[in-house]
Amino acid sequence: MEVSLKTRLGPIELSHPVINASGTFDVLSADLVLEEDLFDRFPFSAYVPKTVTLKPRRGNPPPRLYETAAGLLNSIGLANAGIDAFIREDLPRLAQLPVPVIASVAGESTDEYGACAGLMEGRPEVAAVELNVSCPNLELGGRALGLDPERTHRTVALAREATSKFLIVKLTPNVTDIVEIASAAVDAGADALSLINTVHGMALDRYHLKPVLGHLSGGLSGPAIKPVALRAVFLVSRAFASLPIIGMGGVTDGQDALEFLAAGAAAVAVGTASFRDPLAAAGIANELRKLMQERGIGSVAELSGLAQR
């Protein structure tokens, strides 16, 4: 049986549904290290660079990583060289990729989100903008903007004004009601949602019994959070039937991708699994095709939202 893996995020056509999760695959670095011409053979159907902010950020003090049961805690703290360096140094090289580039931006204030989105406006290399409103340690008191429906609305509205690009908003699961936050983002003009960013968590050093991360607490990713992510995708996609959703959180094999799509996603993103195997995404897309074949599902459109029907 012929299976088409093609999918779309609004106007953006993707050759298959597997993209990367922001902050987990640095193609410019990986291309130097992996003995594989990544620009020729790219495993993801779109590329999302690490989130950039208006000003450069050093990021949080180490240790920044700790493995937990089937999960990974991180507290990178949006370390990045700033949006100017991104535009000047990275974008020209990323434009050579054979897939669309989705720029991920964040601000240390609501205004900065608008400014960052605006700076992407004139860039033909950028196919879409992803607003990361879900990273902790930004703004006052270290609370992500995306924890609050009003602030989410304000932030997304500002970015919406600043850009005509396809606008994706990436939400945090660390809220009482993710559908309420999703609703605020959609009301304010989001074209699509990415679900989910990491889950708040903490680990102690087994010897010293102090928080192991330099930043004390961090974000949990990987298979451990897959049930949380699947639920978010399912609930939000049920509430906003025609909204494109990029599902992520623990996608590790083709079966996971299949399930996220069935829950209502139009595409899935692979994060932590790329640390097990940097090109895991290629295998995931292949397995997905096989599983769709076995089940007689001919297209992503047919699959997407199956769990809802």
Binding site: L34, P43, T272, F275, P278
Partner: protein
């Protein structure tokens, strides 16, 4: 998307030997490409092949030694990842990405002093041999907590090593750094030795301090928690004045004077 897209330097490697060396475990596996390329101080990202999610991620492991097609690593089983790797039995397969990172710069000329603390002794074996092969005078100080750890010093076959243990159960009693000033002082007026070090953070800080004091160059291999090993995650940050660098791609070996020491 491409059918069989796997990085050319990611290998599935059968384990051919696993043996206890005192407190540590030495595991040897078949990896001809890594054996051919690995430079002293480089590392690999290693996990048990397969789908088990416990442990979830590979662990950075230094290349201890190579022997024709074989690569050897020495494992200190302290936590989930290292215990799992130390338990790899003959016939088990490892998923290995490597060799990775920047190893030691061997281009210097004068005498070399190698200082290792605990597991830090593992990656320095190859270095000692490589430096000797370049005709450099090599002195090794290996510091351990106790005798069972110190047994790893037997793996420094052709190289003379000075063993130090904290409890005095093998070699001299003390810390590796205790011997460093003597070795440097001894050469007062002669060519200053270059220091190469691998070990716990406090030891490296002490090495850096002494090197600065004596005006000697010190190359240190730092430890950091790593997820990707290829510069993707920014998890392996190491402090340098003005910001952080990545241990996995900018290191793990750094010039001590380039780093920020507390």
């Amino acid at each position: 998307m491409d059918a069989g897209l796997i990085p050319a330097n990611l290998y599935e490697c059968p384990v051919v030997e696993s043996r206890q060396v005192g407190a540590y475990r030495q595991v040897s596996f078949v990896a001809p490409e890594i054996a051919a390329l690995a430079q002293p101080g480089q590392f690999m990202m290693v996990r048990l092949a397969g789908k088990s999610l416990d442990p979830l991620l590979p662990r950075p492991m230094g290349v201890h030694d190579v022997d024709s097609d074989l690569v050897k690593m020495i494992i200190d089983p302290v936590g989930k990842g290292s215990v799992a790797l130390a338990g790899a039995a003959v016939g088990d397969r490892l998923s290995v990405l490597g060799p990775l990172g920047c190893g030691f710069d061997l281009e210097g000329a004068g005498p070399a002093v190698l200082v290792a603390g605990g597991m830090g002794a593992a990656p320095l074996t190859m270095l000692a041999r490589a430096l000797a092969a370049r005709g450099r005078e090599v002195a090794c100080i290996l510091g351990f907590k106790t005798r069972s750890q110190a047994m790893v010093s037997e793996l420094y076959r052709d190289v003379h090593v000075e063993v130090v243990t904290e409890d005095g159960s093998a070699g001299r009693c003390g810390l590796a750094c205790d011997l460093l000033p003597g070795l440097v002082e001894k050469r007062r007026g002669r060519e200053l030795p270059e220091i190469f070090a691998c070990g716990p953070a406090e030891m490296l800080a002490e090495v850096a301090r002494m090197a600065r004091k004596h005006g000697a160059r010190a190359q240190v291999s730092v430890a950091a928690h790593m997820a990707c090993g290829i510069g993707s995650c920014q998890g392996c940050a190491v402090s340098r004045s003005g910001g952080y660098v990545k241990a996995c791609t900018d290191g793990p070996v750094f010039d001590a004077e380039d780093l920020q020491w507390r």
